[in-house]
Symmetry: C2
Subunit: 96 residues, 2 copies
């Protein structure tokens, strides 16, 4: 899984930022915090996202406190962002 090229970053990252994702200062990860009404809604989101994470063998770093889920995505093998991060970020937004 190659790192996103400069052109790919320019194409994808502004779109993700517009959707509430934050690009880390070092450019190697993206993060977003989702807030739901209840714990079942928050954990239900995590469960749906977990199925895709496993299917794509690309797993988030994430934490949950009651109705909040904080997600960080990075492609650890390359120490940066790849297509898989963009794909999982968009899927999570769709599921949330």
């Amino acid at each position: 899984m190659p790192a996103l090229t400069t052109q790919e970053r320019d194409r994808h990252l502004p779109e993700l930022e517009a959707a509430g994702w934050t690009v880390a200062e070092d450019g190697a990860s993206i993060a977003k915090t989702y807030k739901f009404k209840t714990f079942p809604m928050a954990f239900g989101f995590m469960t749906r996202a977990a199925l895709y994470a496993e299917k794509w063998d690309h797993h988030p770093d994430w934490s949950n406190t009651y109705n909040t889920v904080a997600v960080q995505l990075s492609t650890h093998d390359i120490g940066g962002l790849s297509d898989l991060d963009v794909k999982l970020a968009k899927k999570m937004d769709e599921l949330a």
Copy 2:
């Protein structure tokens, strides 16, 4: 939900510490990190624990990175530990 009394802390906390839980320096929370073989096993544990958390209306602060689940328990209403933390900690150990 009242805070654990000194006697209750003396009864329960050593047992939890023997099972790998750490009591925070301020005594107001307990924490444990579980390690599993795979992401599905880690997330499966979270899913089982989530059902009890919701049933008992007592929710963990927890994070997951691949096969690792880091849990922190506290009773936020009282700013400390209650029976619910002991109960959920023991249930999590049983489920893990």
